[in-house]
Structures are given as C-alpha cells and as structure tokens.
Symmetry: D2
C-alpha cells in the first residue's frame, strides 16, 4: 500500500474535504478537513495538541551539556512549559559550526525527561537516524530544511511517534500540506504543523513570521498548528510580542528557544529567551489565551 504509486500525470488526489471559505489551494486527501471534523488531537506522552489548551514547547536550540540542558529544562518546566525541545542532531549551514552532541544529546534529553516529567521533542535529519531518535524522544521534529526530504517524511510516517513538521522557509501552504500528506499516507496521522517564518526580502528579521498561515491552515486541515516565534524573527526581544500574536491568531501551541545563558549559546543565542524572559512571558500569555477562549 505504501509502495510507490506509478501513475500517469494529473493524478494529484485532492480532497473531497470541506473548504467553506473557498481557498484556492488543492488540499490533499488525508490532511484535508472533512465536514464536521474536529481538530485531530495529537497526543505526545499525555500532552495534547489541538484541544483547548495552548501547548508550550520550550528549551535550548541545541543540547550542549548536561548543565545547560538540565538547568534550562527545570526552569521552563517550573514556569509552565509542557514539552522540552533541544537538538541532538543540528542542521547547520556551515560544516564548521557545532553539529550537535548526537546520541549523547539524546541520552541527556531522556534523563531530564525522567526527572521533570516533560515530554521531549528533538530533530531527526537522516532516514538512518529516525529509529534512534524515536527510541529516545516522544515526538520527532522534521526541520524546515527537510520539509521536502521525502524519504525522511516516509520514515516519519512509519516511526510510531508523533511528528512535528516545520514549514520550509520557502514552502507554500500547499507544499506544506503535501509534505504532511506524505507522513499520513505512510501511516501516521499524529502530525503537528509548525509555522516558523518564511524567507522574504526583509533583512531586519531573520525570517518573516507568516501568522496568516495559522488561520489559513486551520481552515483546510484537521491537523493542529503551532508557531515558532524564535526562528520566525531571529530576534530575542521580539519573541514575546510575536508569541502573544500567535496565541491571539489561534495557534494550538508555541515552540520557543530558551537558554540559561543565551550569550554563550553554541547555536541561535541571539533568538533564545533567557530563563527570566521566558518566565515573564509565561505570566503574560494566559491573558491572551483567555481572551480567545483558551487556556495555557
């Protein structure tokens, strides 16, 4: 069933799903929202994406050391985060940049999960890593640069763990939905979509966070949608404002980079919140959530 389909052209199987607002996107079958369908609940070790609670995913860009990870994890847990993020395999533009602690990093994530009770999401970049990563993590992240890494998407469809799929920085909404369709088509409907900024001509921010992607996606798919204001801006002090906007626009969750010492981070320090900044933000966010009928 999952074997390659050899078909003629024009065989894009588009959905019979509802699209009450008549968007000009071809919506693939499995990800498409059906009549009267609710948002799919994606359950990550007990944490539910897609319900009335806005899920908070926080943690460092990369796992760098036991101290860095554990201090950061304890703090974000104390301040209300639901899931811990942290990269063990890092996709870096330059081969000379820190590439991650690999399995050592996965082990650290696993240890602190036991201590804090936080579920863990971490990235897999290679089809050969999926099984290893799935053995340690509660949720597999497919990063922006791999959104159209189709063999990886197929493996993610067969890995048995929920998937966090980040939008490619150059991907249209239609391409994003089709990437998710690969995962569902290979047997896994536990997929959370993440808007994380697209590339535009503007250079004062690292990316342009496309918050309109949230209502657009929620109009056409039953999958939960979250927002990454850290990569979305690349600028630490902008993260709180954009996080609030993301909750107001209807996101089912947020994923944010937090570091116990951003100035010394090996990766993305300039967009990581300090522990205090995260704490302050977590005091503000529930007000916005309540204003749109949700909780944090």
């Amino acid at each position: 069933m999952l074997k390659n389909n050899i078909k003629g052209k024009n065989n894009m199987e588009t959905t019979s799903c509802i699209n009450p607002n008549d968007v000009k996107i071809k919506i693939p079958t499995l990800v498409g929202l059906k009549k009267n369908q609710e948002t799919t609940i994606v359950n990550v070790n007990g944490v539910e994406f897609g319900g009335s609670k806005v899920v908070i995913v926080a943690g460092p860009c990369a796992v760098e050391s036991q101290e860095q990870l554990f201090e950061t994890a304890r703090s974000v847990e104390f301040n209300g985060a639901n899931i811990l993020r942290g990269g063990a395999f890092k996709p870096r533009s330059s081969p000379y940049s820190f590439q991650g602690l690999e399995e050592e990093g996965l082990k650290l994530l696993s240890q602190i999960r036991k201590e804090t009770g936080l579920a863990v999401v971490t990235e897999a970049m290679d089809t050969r890593q999926i099984e290893l990563v799935a053995g340690y993590a509660d949720m597999i992240q497919i990063g922006s640069r791999n959104m159209q890494n189709f063999p990886l998407l197929k493996e993610a469809g067969m890995c048995g763990k929920p998937v966090l799929l980040k939008r490619g920085m150059m991907a249209t909404i239609e391409e994003f939905l089709n990437a998710a369709e690969y995962v569902l088509h290979h047997g896994n409907d536990q997929v959370v979509l993440c808007e994380r900024g697209i590339r535009s001509f503007e250079t004062s921010t690292r990316n342009t966070l496309d918050l309109s992607a949230v209502p657009m996606l929620k109009n056409v798919t039953h999958l939960p949608v979250i927002v990454d204001p850290s990569h979305g801006t690349g600028v630490r002090w902008m993260v709180p404002a954009m996080a609030k906007a993301a909750v107001a626009v209807g996101a089912d969750g947020l994923i944010m980079e937090v570091h116990y010492n951003p100035e010394e981070a090996l990766c993305d320090g300039e967009q990581s919140l300090s522990l205090d900044e995260f704490e302050n933000l977590m005091r503000e966010l529930p007000k916005i959530a309540n204003a749109v009928g949700r909780q944090i």
Copy 2:
C-alpha cells in the same frame, strides 16, 4: 530649509536616537526614537493615535455612492469605529478598473463626517490632489504604491494634515522609515505608519501580513504604528483573526475595509467585511486589547 540638499555621498544622516535592542537598521534622525521619548500622539480631529486606546479605522475600499458610503459609515460608527476610510481617488492596476468618484467622493465623505462625527481619512495619489484632498479630509493617506513617491511625500509634509503612510509592498523597514522621514523633514510630524502586508512567494493570500513590523518599528521610531489586515490578507474571513493578532502584537490601531454589500463592491470586495462581520469583530477585539493593557 526644505530646499534640496546637494551633498556628497555617504551623507545619510542617521539618528542619534536610542536603539536599545541593537537592530541593524540605519534609523533616520527625525523619525528615530530618542531616549525616554514616548510615542508621538497623532491627533486626527480629536482621535488620538499612539495613546492607550487602539484606534479603529473602517469603511469601504472606495466611495461608490451616497447610499453605499452612508450606510456603511453609520454602521461602523455605531459599532465603535473612530475614523472612516474610503477612497475617492483609487490607484488601480488596470486603467479599465473603477478609478474612484474623485471630488464627488470627497464631498460625500465630508457630508457623512458631519452626520456621524467620524473623522475621515482618504488617499491622495498626485501632488496636484493634495490641497484638494486636505480641504475635505482629516487625514491624508499615502498608499503603498506611493510610499516612495517622493514629491508626494514632500507635499504631504507641507499639507497641514496628519498623514497615514502605508508601507510599500516590497519596502524594507529602513525604506519605510526613510519615507516617513521625508514627511517629517518637510515639516509634518503627525505621521502614522501602517503595515499592510508585503509581497512574498505565497499565493494563497494576497499579501503576507508582516506583524513583526509592529514591534520592530515601535522599537526604533516614536511614530504610532497601525495594521491593515484587509490588504494584508486579501481574504475576508481571515481579517478577524489577523486583527486580533495585530492588537496582541502591540499595534496602535487597525484599518479595515467594511462594505454594506461586499459581493457587489466595485473594489476589493473579497477582502471587505460585511457590516455584521465588523460588528462581531468589534465585540471580540476589546478582550485582546485588555489582555495587553489597552482599550478599544
């Protein structure tokens, strides 16, 4: 003083203003935020942009007829709008599209202002129109396509009325600030900046609303910043969600297209709220405003 400066190269006069967050933008002198400076209050016939109240500007894309304008204006006023928008001179991509009622439209705007008490903002596209438009309107709009129409910016600087300056659809933040600098340099500091969507590769929306422009601008300039979710999305049903996000992110106001019969609009009907949709949105927005410490 306002005569052309003939100077050598590298004479961009950048500001000595504060920029606590170390953004890599060259900020022009007059628009730059100075130490301890508050947001400038732009007063449009008694309506204040830049204070704790979020200003609501609403009305049709174009003034089409007395009935269309008056019914729409009465309804938005009743539901809490502070300022009426409506174009008498319309910048249309095609010469065969409706170009606006011109002075007749200005007269209608003036009449309904008297009846409703709403202040009026309308666009001027030509240096030769500025005086005429300023004679009828309370605020002159410079549209996206004219953001770098420098003679028009100079005239707007000398027109004696507050200016609503919309960001060009492919203008960087730095270019946007420099466009505003033209207006201030020619004598007018009553300028409101408006993010209205930038052009990206994404085609499911008309533009990509760059909400990160709001915190970015408010970090570097003392001018108020508002958001146009109608042009920013080009999609009617997305306007409420993006309006909420804009308030959450810290906008000083919203400008939205509202039409008493969007299906029959001569211009931009697909992005105009109906009267009922506007009414519903105006019931939701105060909750978000309160959640960020403001009022509507």
Copy 3:
C-alpha cells in the same frame, strides 16, 4: 475617451491578441501582441527601439556637473552609445541624499545633446514635472518606484514624447503590462519596457535581474523591451556579463550607468561603469548581437 471609466467589477478588458505560448497572464488590450504584429518601433529622435539594432543607452545615474556630464557623454558617444541617460530629478530613499540638479540638469542634458547628437532620456517623478522634462528630453523615463504612479502614467500618455517605463521592483509581468496600458490608453504607444531587477531574498546583489522577463514580455506584447544591468545587479563588475546575457536573451536594448569617476559619484557609483569599462564592453557586445542575428 481618456476620462475615468466608471464601471462595475470584473471589467478588466483583456486582449484578443495572440498568445501562442499559452501564458497564464491576462494581457491588456492595447499592449497585447496581435496576430502577425511586429514589434512596435519606438523612435527617439531618430534612434529606433524594436528593430534589428540593439540600442545602447548610457550615461551617469545623476547629472552632477557640466564637467561630469559632458566628459561622460562624449566618451559614451565615441564608444557607440545611441542615447544619453542622466537624472535631473532623482528619487532617493533618504531625504538627505542628493536629489538632483533639477532644471539646471535638464539644461546641461540639452546642451550636450546638441554637441554630441545623442538623444536624451531623463526621469520625471511628478505630474507637475512632465511638461518641463518633455520640453528638454527626447524620451521621458518613468522609474521603478513610480511604475504604479497612475497619475504620472496618465500624464506620460499625454506628453507627446516616447516613454521609457521601468518595471517596479515588486511588479509582476501582468502589473507591468497594465502600467504600460495606462500610457497607451491615454494616447501614447511609444513605450519601451525596461527590466531592471526585482527584489528577492538574495542580498549579494542589489536586485535580482529577471532576464526571463524579456522573452516573456516579447511573447505577449508588441512593445520593445530593454534591460538595465546596472540597477539589475548593483555591482559594477557584474554589468558586462549581464549585459551580454541580456543581448543573448533577445533584449532590444540596454541602459547602463557610466561615470567618468565612479568612486566620486553622488549616486550609484558602485554600479557605474568607468569610461574604460564601457569602452571594453562595447567591443564585446557586437559579437553577442551578431550571434543572435542583430547588430549594435
């Protein structure tokens, strides 16, 4: 006839012209290529755009002084340029940059035309300048930032001189054609289209020169199409390679910035060829022109 048409929506009058290659662009009536129609010859004081000769337009970004203009003009004329460019009114991002010599610049252009025999093209930015500029110049340039300055396009349609219309940096091919349609609709079919680079995410060049615009435009319109590799790259040493590519792709002409002392230019020196560089390029270009069946 030229009065604003007040019509209902959906009244874009698209062409019945041929479009043998089935491009998905709505082509406006007057600019659209008709069956068996040849490229329109645009005659600028005897220099013909649209024939078998590739027209060379060269000169400084801005007219800065008699010496600068005259030395540059004499040199480009000697090396084979057909038309002299040079701005008297300059659209500058910052109000503190050199804004041009205004009428004094027009007079200098007029003087050197008499001496060299070169036709002159220069920019008008304001409806109020059109008559003045048309009194001195052989061809009126509408710059990128004014491509959708519709009142200016209407005046250009009525000015009695050929028009050089530059593509906006954010303009689609369809918008570009509609901008030209404004000029034709107001009575002037002597319009040359100029691709000058669009804005993309790439930052190593000032713009991204879209050479595919040339065959695309020539497939759907009868207007001549030229290329500006100076603004298209913003990088002096890239101009010769891109100029060759433009001729190979089928452009009807080139417009290039040349300065007798680029390092001291008041405007765009980093993209201006020196006199020697222009001379060298003019020795190379005829080979490419011949290879595609044309002459320089």
Copy 4:
C-alpha cells in the same frame, strides 16, 4: 578529520581566498577561489566541466520506460549532448505523483550509457541510496530540495563520484557555497554548482532564473557553475532564450530536460524540450559560445 567538529560559536572558518571584487559574502575555505587559481576541472567519465568547452547535459526529467529513455538519449547524443540526465528517484511534492522507477531506472540509465557512450547523472535523495546510485551513475545529483540535507551532503563527500549540486530555490549564494563546502570538507572536490531558478513573487514562470549567480559564483569559487533553464523557467518555449543567455553570461554548462513526447511526460512535461526543439537549440548555441570565446 571528517568527524563532527564540536566548536564554540563564531567559528565559521572563512577563506583567505582572493575576492578581487570585494563581495560581501563570507566565503568558506575549501570552495573559495585562491590567488591565481583556475577553475577546478570536474571530470565525469571523460567529460570535463570547467574548461573552455560548455558541457551539455540533457535528458528526461524522470526515467519512465526503456523506450522513452533510449529514444531520448540517442537523440540528444546525436545532437551533441555530453551527459545524459534522468531521475530514477524523484522528489515529488505530492505522495500521489510518480515517484520514479528506482533501481530499475538506474539499470536503464546504465544500459543506454553503454550504447551511447554518454556519461550519466542522476539524483540521490536519501543517504541510504547514495551507494546504490554511485554504483550506476557517473555523477550524483543533489537536488534543490536537498541542498541543505547535510547528512546527504556528507555522504556525497565520501561517495567517490563527482557531484552536481543544485541551488536551493530559496538559498542565498552564501548558503549555496556552504552546502558545497560540506561536500569538499568530507573529501570530494569534484563538485559542479548549478543555478536552477529561485523562488520570487513572480508567478508567470515557475521560478526566477538568477543568471547573476553565475558571475557572482565564478568570482568567489573555483568550482564550475552550470545553469538549468528548464527548472529555471518551467516554460518550454523559454528554455532556448535562457540557455543562450546562460552561455553568454559565462556558464560552464547547461542541464536541460528533453523528452521524446513532452505532452505525455509523467513529470515536468511543460518544461521539457522536444527532440526537435533540442536539435534546433544545439544549432544555435555554438554561435553564442564562440562569441564569448568558448566552444560547445
């Protein structure tokens, strides 16, 4: 040596190579052009990229059948192509599109290589495929969507075959160079860079072919640079004009899609040349090559 380097931040090892034109790109060490260095010759089974000959790579988007591949290959070989392209593993946006013949396709490529003498380039999408693909092909293609698939780049560095690296559709020149650096850093300096169009706002073409990337890259790297006008435009009738421009601008080769029956192609038929169209183009290209001092 090839093990991950765990280093602190700010350790981008930039080159000491020459950059006579002072481009603001950080150029990685191994790909950077050194003083007096010539273009690296990349030898693909006797065909040399980077010399005075412009290399022609042609063939179908995907290997579909023996008949389709063999007829197309014989024809492009007869008309002067040097290398045969054809995908056995296809990265398709939708899981329901034709995904390629996999190893069966590789075998067909291998058979027709024997018959025609053409070298073969084909894509690998998965680290687990590299060894298989390298066993059949003379050159491994890394596609646009995998330009930042770092594990794949590392494997390509160790595969023992030359690599054709396509620019990501939203990759900056700097990111492109860093992707190549991964391959060189892992032991393989036989890398050809391919500009294949970037994503912009323009929708009349599939991508925007950035020909300025050719002189930009050749200014900073010793690697050969080729152009793909098929993906670069997505429009069959535009391919010849853009191919000519690519040769004029200095490309070291072209890669083009050719199909014996484009209307029936399972993939990218709308951008594939027919056999006749390719034949006609191959008669035109040598003239352009000669005009810039090269041969085909």
